[in-house]
Amino acid sequence: MNAARASFIGQSVERREDYRFLTGAGQYTDDIVLPRQTYGYFLRTPHAHAAIRSVDVSAARAAPGVLAVFTSRDLAGVGGLPCGWLIKSIDGSPMKEPRHPVLAEGKVRYVGEQVALVVAESAAQAKSAAALIGVDYDVLPAVVDTATAAGNGSAVHEIAPDNVCYTWGIGDAAAVDAAFAAAAHITRLSLKNNRLIPNAIEPRAANADYSRADDSYTLYVTSQNPHVERLLMTAFVLGLPEHKVRVIAPDVGGGFGSKIYLYGEETALVWATRRVGRPIKWTAERSESFLTDAHGRDHVTTAELALDKDGRFLALRVNTTANLGAYLSTFGSCIPTILYATLLAGQYATPHIHCRVQAVFTNTAPVDAYRGAGRPEATYLLERTVERAARELGADPAELRRRNFIRSFPYASPVGLTYDTGDYAATLNRVLELADVGGFKARKAASEKRGLLRGIGYSCYIEACGIAPSNIAGALGARAGLFEAGEVRVHPTGKITVFTGSHSHGQGHETTFAQIVADKLGIPIEDVEIQHGDTGRVLFGMGTYGSRSLAVGGTAILKAVDKIVAKGRKIAAHLLEASAEDVEFSQGEFRIAGTDRKKAFAEVALAAYVPHNYPLDQLEPGLNENAFYDPPNFTFPAGSYVCEVEVDPETGRVQVDRFSASDDFGNVINPMIVEGQVHGGLAQGIGQALLEGCRYDSDGQLLTGSLTDYALPRADDLPRFTVETAKGTPCTHNPLGVKGCGEAGAIGSPPAVINAILDALAPLGVRDIDMPATPYQVWQAIQATRR
């Protein structure tokens, strides 16, 4: 029976987590109500930049139901929220690291920053009482605009009087200058990468509970990485013993980066629960999500591409100003540097690249990783620049890309990465078929008859995923390791519980990881359970971001499975009275090679736990293995996207009519889940291109602070997607051959959309448009050509 069993790897197994989500039985943080529950509410500043002269909490303390009110004065001795990555400026000086307080200290630096915590019997009482707190603000001029923040005159932090956190560079500037001097053609482009607000549909929430009985804490929190949350909170901020704090990230309703970070809110709750002696729950209102979840992107960039007379790329020069917001969020410093400029080679063999990044503080919410994190910014500028070069040279944009593709691997890029494998021509060729590029002319003519302008746009992206080799990350400034941990616990009956340090908040790990384990052990998938998200049960974990879960977390599980098999062979050899070298394992059976003498996996498991006939002098009983996996390199997913839009020149309205994607993710465990990840990424990328744009006014007031002002893509804003995962080039350095797929869509799609719009508008003379290309923006761009 076992011999005929199909492999689970590569199958679109239906998701095991779906039953609970579909029936309302998921347990999200806000669903949890603890005995003697109390509720927290944060008073937030309405000013972007102000000195706090005084805070009067007496009326709030006396309000009905109020148990306590805390401000930063109560939190004496509590540390600041740490930044996990040290970036050094070109001159060797470390980045400016201003203190990032749990509750505002002396000054507020962005609208929404938390000033006080009110704890009450009900959420409504806490909120009402917060309105009674009197804060006397001395309002200061706000620094808001990315491009003009440096040397603005008003300083967000005293330690950075010019608002510059660092000025960082990568690449050989002299070689780039020399290549430009010899260029036959130079393409120049200035662009913005629009600031985004992540908007996971589940708002951030936390529920902190102190137990006096054993002097321990439990924190339920919407987190993508509960162990990291615990480590940062205990070791760097609260000074609590790490082993006395249990962090549980239960079902989490989407993250997209925004739930990676250690925030002030949950930290304040953990601090306060012991003082109040009762559990405290806080759930963000959507308005708070808009104001205080770490935002994404927000770059202002100039790019120059030098080409020879044959259209070969000679050099790329990039200058970027990146907005970090008011404070350094957990990974804020590495996003516009390490995760950005190292990707500027893209899929092209450009020999010389230089990038300079100036990172600035402003009176806006902290900016950190949002789906793609640095890589969308790199891809957008590169693919916009390449498409413009093609237009300037009268070249076919696909052909110009093909001419410059990297074709031999491993490839050491001039910006520090070594791509292990890829086949960029394959995904480009395939997407041209999927998109029926040959039929474009006819479709364009048909659109024209309806008064619409049709355009086609391309994008060939690369990303560095499977984050990350700890030693390389460390050399680049990371203050953490970036391995992953896994445990495979075989029960006496042969059933298995797997504990993973990865965290699933939509990615389907409970299914994909079970497929791997069932496949490798040759047992039914029903016999494998995946546990994650609880520091009290999982040995350790770095969490889920950077498309790392399968490549790093999945490999850790696989390594633990290998150890199980290795031990199982020794046990089986004893039971079969053979030598371990003669025992082979496949399809769930340990067998003496070339014979029919065998033991089933469950028999071996039972022997390990009932070790009556067992080599106790050589082997410990039990069957339980841990593994930590630190990847030797990043993985390099890549692909090609084609977008076709129709633009109504009268209204400026853009409709994405067709979107085709060919992605190389290496090996694929569950194609259905992978395609779903691409769909979601595409929606966020198309959202960035057409709809989403965070705006502050010049006083630092958030103008796009609700779902009625900030446009998330809705079902009728998006097309049906044509997504195909290529057979692909397996990753060469992890045993699964996988690369990661979670961010690709968001990375590759924005330039395809904008390139398509510019193609549609080219006959009108429109050469440039910034994201989001709303009807107003497009209409304005059209009008500008008529003046």
């Binding site: 347990q27 759930t283 990424g681 929606a683 779902l707």
Partner: protein, 158 residues
């Protein structure tokens, strides 16, 4: 605030309670009845995660006061779920088509989709997309949700 007596049906069970006049249906379901399948994703009635049925029509429960529902029949995602461990055809289609990822918008999306199919069993893709525009999903890009609704429409029509 004075408490108002209220009598209604939730998932086919009679419910009597005393509620303050400003109690939202979403709060009542989640906090009074502990039916936490109904989720709250926003404060502007924009996201649809809290969608339930009132009298068989999809309603955003954050936009209704319980006090308005005297004698009404309310159905939540828990109420459409068969007790035998199987799924409503809409739930089943969401699973087979991978129409959900993080699951947070899912109960509201399913309740909206059921209403849509009950009242427009032959909706086109465009009509389905328009019909679901009151429900936000940040994970799926809607592609597989639309597919699931089409599958469920066929299953429910049989």
């Amino acid at each position: 605030m004075p408490l108002l007596p209220i009598r209604l049906s939730v998932n086919s069970e009679p419910v009597t309670a005393e509620v303050s006049a400003d109690t939202l249906l979403s709060t009542f379901l989640r906090e009074h009845l502990r039916l936490t399948g109904t989720h709250i994703g926003c404060d502007t009635a924009s996201c649809g995660a809290c969608t339930v049925h009132v009298g068989g029509r999809a309603v955003k429960s954050c936009n209704v006061l319980v006090a308005q529902l005297q004698g009404e029949e309310v159905t939540t995602v828990e109420g459409i779920t068969p007790a035998d461990g199987s799924l409503h055809p809409m739930q089943a289609a969401f699973r087979s088509c991978h129409g959900l990822q993080c699951g947070f918008c899912t109960p509201g999306m399913v309740m909206s989709a059921i209403d849509l199919v009950m009242h427009r069993p032959h909706a086109t893709e465009e009509q389905i997309r328009k019909g679901l525009e009151g429900n936000l999903c940040r994970c799926t890009g809607y592609h597989n949700i639309v597919k699931a609704v089409q599958h469920a429409a066929r299953a429910m029509g049989r």
